[in-house]
Every structure is written in C-alpha cells, then in structure tokens.
Amino acid sequence: MVGDWIQVVTGSLFWEYRSILVRGLIINFYVFFLAGVLAVGMGLVACLARLSPLRALRWCGTFYAELFRNTPEYVLLVWVHFVPPLVLTLLLHTRINFSPLFSAVVALGLASSGYFTETFRAGILSIPRGHIEAARSTGLSGVLTFRWVILPQAIRKMLPESLNQFISLLKSTTLVSLISVPDLMYQVSMITQEQMRPMPLYSGAAIVYFVIILSLAALVRRFSESWRAVGRA
C-alpha cells in the first residue's frame, strides 16, 4: 500500500505509459473542440429561433433547448450511438454505423448546445430596448443594428457564462470513453486491465483532470473579471 502511494506521488506507472496517455488527452481536447464548435453553432441557431417573431419557430427553439438541457449526457451519448444509425438503416435499407468519435461529438455538442442557447438568449435579451430603437431610428438596418449595437454588448455579457459552459463541456468529454473513443479515461481503464493496479492510474487521471480543469477555470475567472472591468469603464 505504501508502494502504491509512492507510485501515486511519483507517477512512475503514468510515466511508463506517457505517450499513450498523452494521446488520450489529445483525443479529449479534439472531441472538446469539435463538440464546442457544434454546440456554439447549434446554440446560435436555436437562440435565433427562440427570438424570432414567428411563434412556431420560437416554440421549436424552446423545445430544442429544453430537450437537450434536460437529457443526461450519458443517456444522450448512448442514444445517439445506437438509435439513429438503426433508424437510418431501416429507412435507407443500407447498413449505417456511426463511428464512436462521431457519436461522441454529436451527443456532447447537442447536449451543451441547449445551455448555449439559453446563455446567448440571456445575453441578447439583456440589451436595453432603447439601444435597439435608437440604432434603428438613426437609420441602421436590422442587420447593422445586430452587428454593431447588439452583438458587441451581448458578447461581453455572455462571455463569462459561455466560458463556464466550455469548461463543463470539457469535463463531460471524459464520458466518451464509455462508447470506446480512446480518450484518457479509456486508456487508463485499458492499462488498468493489463496491469491490475487501478490505484495509481485512476488517482493519476483524477489529478491530471483536476489540474487541467482547475487551471482553466482559474484562467476563465481572471479573464472574465478583467473583461467585466473593461466593460464597465
């Protein structure tokens, strides 16, 4: 047991497998990046739908946001990985499989796009109506008002919240190992099966994630504080 503790501290087992583990971590960030792009894109679309003057579109946007905000990530991940390929296979009469990476990106992207929808909406709604009316009455078109009056203010308002969303997205990328995307947790469980020594590896993985996410969160906190200070000045 003392030996195990020493291994946790010195990380020798971690060091032995460093190349595999680093590759796993890179996959984590790769999934994070792709899912983040999808989430922001879909979040923007759904947010615009929620703010549109058409009631049907508004309703669709709300339904979309509520649906994906309320589904657990893991459930969504498994569902996306198994159900849509089968439905497509039945419909198109050709065999369709989603690669684990594809399912992971789609599921995590959709799951966090629900949150992004709400963040974006809150940011845009926080702009006082008077600014929009003033911009319109000076002769700016709808698009120009959006581009030069609403967007610069809204981005400042929603940036801290969005960065937090990105951090929770990064945290949920650990789930993709469950559909055998070879990320860090997947590699750890593979090596554990080979070595039969869960303690140093799982503790090491926990520490690695802890350090990465804590430092990113600290960065976000500092960044958004200075950003807010700029906004006030």
């Binding site: 047991m1 195990d4 509520e66 649906l67 905000r69 309320n70 589904t71 657990p72 990530e73 893991y74 459930v75 969504l76 498994v78 569902w79 198994f82 159900v83 089968l86 439905v87 945290k171 949920s172 650990t174 789930l175 190992s177 469950l178 947790m185 750890v188 469980s189 554990t192 869960p198 303690m199 799982y202 503790s203 993985a205 926990a206 994630y209 802890f210 996410i213 804590l214 969160a217």
Partner: protein
C-alpha cells in the same frame, strides 16, 4: 404499437425498479452531500487552520469530472480506505462527493449573502452568535439557497445515470440490459431517454415555479 406493448409495457416492472433505484441513489447522494457540504462550508468560513484543506477539497470536487470521480471512488477507495464495499455505496459516494463541493460554495454564498448589517444589528440587540445564526441569518440564507440546492439535486439526478457504468441497477442500467436482451434499441433506449427527460424536466419546472414564487413574495 404491438411492439411497444410487448417491449415497454411488459417490462414496466424493470423500468419502475430502475426508477426507484435512480431516485434512491439520488436522494441518498444529495442528503450526504448537504451534510458534508455544510461541514466543509463551516470549516472554510470559521476554522482558520483547516481553511486551506477545505478550499482544496471544494476545488477538487468541483473541477474533477463526475465520471472520473466515480471510477476513482469505485476502484481506488476500497484499496485506500477499505470502503465502499458495494457498487451502490460507491455510486452515491461519488455523486455526493461531487455535489458536496458545489453545495459548500452554495451554503457559503447564502450565508455571506445576508447583509452584514443584519448580523451586527442582531448581535447588538443582545442575541448570542448562535441565536443570531438561528433566527436572523439562517432563515434568510435558506430562502436564498433553496433554488440552487434544488438545482444541485437536478444535477445529481442527471449524473446518476452514470452509476450504471459500475453495475448499479438504475434506470439506465435496466435500459441497457433490456436492450441487450431484446435487441430493440430504438424502442427501449428512446423510452429510457424519454423517462430521464420527463423526470429532469419535472424537477426543473418545480425549481422554476418555486424560485419565481420566492422572488415575487420577498423581493
């Protein structure tokens, strides 16, 4: 329709039991998390020498992914501490671990959110520190904290589906097992997902209703 009846309705017992386990594990986890979170919060606020440790604990709980914590608790804790010995215990321990960090911060912001002057006024009218806490600070803090507490419960319910990974027979586990028995993922997995969405949606609607009511009554 026949298909739905054969697969979903005839297996309703499985789904119900799964729901029961999900509810059980979530309730245990949130109760433990509240107790631990309160202790950690008090240590962080009032116990100088241990403050660093409390902050480290809170930050660790908040910035490690729940799945990593689950694996860590499940595989490493039995070796380190000789506990937990069952998957069920490992499941609620991991869920509680994660939430206790968040709840400690919730409690702290709730207590600190009560205006300073109130505390000073209560103390200067001769209430003891305990009575001040009990009759002046806590009633207001609880009122303010309840929405985020309920929100944390929502998070626990949402992440509780992960305990199926370590073979706790919750709703997700039953769904996956039925899928592998019947091999009808379309119906079974969709129904499982639907159940989760319905539960989580109901809880979040309740939170919204409650916090709107509190806001309209007291603010």
């Amino acid at each position: 329709m026949r298909m739905l009846q054969r697969i979903i309705w005839n297996n309703r017992g499985e789904f119900l039991e799964g729901l029961l386990v999900t509810g059980q594990i979530s309730l245990i986890a949130i109760a433990v998390a509240m107790a631990v979170g309160l202790v950690i919060c008090l240590i962080r606020m009032y116990c100088r020498p241990l403050r660093c440790l409390a902050i480290l604990y809170i930050e660790f709980c908040r910035s490690t992914p729940i799945y990593v914590q689950l694996m860590w608790v499940n595989y490493v804790w039995p070796e380190l501490f000789g506990w937990p010995q069952s998957f069920f215990a490992a499941g609620w321990t991991a869920l509680a671990l994660q939430s206790s960090g968040y709840l400690a911060e919730t409690f702290r912001s709730g207590i600190e959110g009560v205006v300073r002057g109130q505390r000073e006024a209560a103390l200067s009218t001769g209430l003891s520190p305990y009575l001040t806490m009990r009759w002046v600070i806590l009633p207001q803090a609880v009122l303010m904290m309840t929405p985020s507490l309920m929100n944390q419960f929502l998070v626990v319910v949402k992440s509780s589906c992960l305990v199926s990974v370590i073979a706790v027979p919750d709703l997700m586990y039953r769904g996956l097992r039925l899928t592998s028995i019947w091999f009808e993922p379309i119906e079974i997995l969709s129904f499982t997902a639907f159940l989760y969405v319905a539960i989580v949606f109901a809880i979040s609607a309740a939170i919204k209703w409650y916090s709107d009511r509190v806001r309209s009554r007291y603010a």
